[in-house]
């Protein structure tokens, strides 16, 4: 199967916040970068990294 590779115009600073429901939680996420046109091509060669915390850190953003 040929897969068309697309580059979204979004960056870290401009990707819109989207939402998806799972486990009874409404998760906020952003996605950007090079992506495959069809979902079935999301194989090991194009899989995405997942990074915890959109605005840059994994530690609590407000002090304890």
């Amino acid at each position: 199967m040929s897969s068309q590779v697309l580059m979204s115009n979004y960056t870290h600073q401009t990707a819109p916040t989207q939402f998806v429901e799972a486990n009874g939680i409404r998760f906020a996420y952003r996605r950007f970068g090079k992506t495959a046109a069809c979902l079935s091509s999301l194989t090991s060669t194009t899989s995405a990294p997942w990074i915890i915390g959109p605005d840059g850190d994994g530690w609590p953003r407000s002090r304890p």
Binding site: R30, S47, D57, S62, P64
Partner: protein, 189 residues
């Protein structure tokens, strides 16, 4: 950094349960945080992902790998440490001291946490803070007051766990790339 990664792959960033824009409560264990993260990944649909986690995100990422080894192609962790590992208790104390101090403005906590005290380190930290203000539209709101206590409780349970997390023993398949063990947080070491 994420734009650099995005040149060759799709990058997906998310708020875990109870953090900033996501609903729900922050669990008090990294195991539960990982279970939420796995549910999120599966809801989006990819069959396999590379997981990158910084700090406590790295601890969640390790638990994701243990709970769903087939979902994780690669595990990349930074500035984090192993469950029950040597030095993790002192990391907790050092983290408590740094996070417990008062900073003016409050965001200067990151100059202490993430950057060395040297002039060069602090200058790099101030550039980092500028970058965190670049996003103008749709910024994540500040986390609520429940987030830090839950994360700290999870951190303490993780640090003092008698069950040392060893991916190679608990899950041989997850260790094929020899990216284990990780070092503890370089700033706090």
């Amino acid at each position: 950094m994420t734009d650099g990664l995005a040149r060759d792959r799709e990058v997906i960033l998310f708020d875990n349960a109870g953090v900033s824009s996501s609903s729900g409560e922050v669990p008090t264990t990294f195991e539960q945080m990982a279970a939420n993260a796995i549910a999120f990944i599966k809801a989006l649909g990819p069959k396999q992902v590379d997981v990158l986690g910084f700090s406590i995100g790295g601890m969640v990422a390790q638990e994701i790998t243990l709970q769903a080894p087939d979902l994780v192609r690669r595990l990349i962790v930074d500035g984090t440490g192993p469950r029950g590992g040597q030095g993790m208790e002192s990391l907790t104390q050092a983290a408590g001291r740094l996070f417990g101090a008062t900073y003016d403005p409050p965001e200067h906590v990151w100059l202490a946490i993430k950057f060395s005290p040297s002039a060069a380190g602090q200058a790099a930290g101030r550039e980092f803070l500028k970058r965190t203000h670049l996003r103008q539209v749709g910024r994540d709101p500040e986390v609520n007051d429940k987030v830090s206590p839950a994360q700290i409780e999870a951190m303490e349970k993780w640090a003092f766990s008698e069950r040392i997390l060893r991916l190679s023993e608990d899950n041989p398949a997850a260790n094929t790339r020899r990216e284990w063990p990780v070092t503890t947080c370089s700033r706090l070491r």
